[in-house]
Symmetry: C2
Subunit: 180 residues, 2 copies
């Protein structure tokens, strides 16, 4: 619908604004000005700021190719995955985009649905895939139990888990697998 160069400039503008001027700069007017694009062009391709942010984040995550994990133990692979997630949530410009989206999903159910489908579900699937690859039985809530405390801390702006805490957490949750 929009020219490829327009999409690229809009994505770049969003990252630039997030990095340099924070969440309050992520407005339709601000993005249009930074990208050198008319507001109408923006509205033609996206119906809101969150819609732009989803696209910018996903384009960015596709650009960074996922480094193929070496064959470590399951807990270690999970630790690397969750640590990467923490890194992504706390490093600019991603952090500002994700905070802005997290705010938006509290105020709008449709944005929440899009968040779950496009950002949360792939994250959960990665964890789920690791568990299935490891050929150990696990209860259905394991994936949620692994991710929820990480997300909880980020959401409350508490200090994130460090590698040691992550290892401990993962081992605790995996221990539930062998419970009666």
């Amino acid at each position: 619908m929009a020219r490829p160069s327009t999409v690229a400039r809009v994505h770049a503008a969003v990252l630039e604004l997030a990095m340099r001027r924070g969440p309050s700069a992520l407005t339709m007017e601000g993005i249009a000005a930074e990208a050198g694009v008319g507001k109408q062009t923006l509205y033609r391709s996206w119906q809101s700021v969150p819609a732009i942010l989803f696209d910018a984040l996903l384009a960015r995550s596709k650009a960074d190719a996922a480094p193929t994990p070496p064959d470590e133990s399951l807990p270690e692979r999970l630790r690397q995955l969750l640590e990467a997630a923490v890194e992504e949530m706390t490093t600019e410009p991603n952090a500002t985009l994700l905070r802005t989206l997290a705010a938006a999903i509290q105020l709008d159910e449709l944005t929440a649905r899009e968040y779950r489908e496009r950002l949360l579900k792939p994250q959960l699937n990665e964890i789920h895939q690791l568990l299935r690859d490891a050929d150990v039985p696990f209860p259905p809530r394991t994936t949620e139990l692994l991710l929820a405390p990480v997300f909880y801390r980020w959401s409350m702006r508490l200090p994130p888990m460090n590698p040691n805490e992550l290892s401990l957490h993962i081992n605790e949750v995996l221990a539930l697998t062998q419970q009666p």
Copy 2:
């Protein structure tokens, strides 16, 4: 600082607007108009919308006296506590106030701090107290592990845990207590 009747009218206005018109009606202008109060009076006592919402929520929670829990088992007491928390997070007008605050803490660290101190910490303390009363040893992360998935689901607007899921969840987390 403000007249008691003014505070009461502001709190009532906030609840009324949350119930009838949703999060987007919770503006300084809207609250002032609904309460029949000048904007300057509002700014004299609170420096932002979130500040008003904290006060309104806490005034409300003090009004509803906590029903003294009967002496049930620990898991059952925890279940009642978490179920009450879910109820409070999903029932209007509290739900709209809490969503508005959850959005604000993503965009402002100071609001996040106030949220942790005035709403989150008391919640965690209640759980912690129940655990200490029960004279069973528990690792330091138990409280967080109990609450995080509940909060995670609410935050992502996923279906909340029902009483059965809550019981299962609590038993799983408590089982970690007896682990090596």
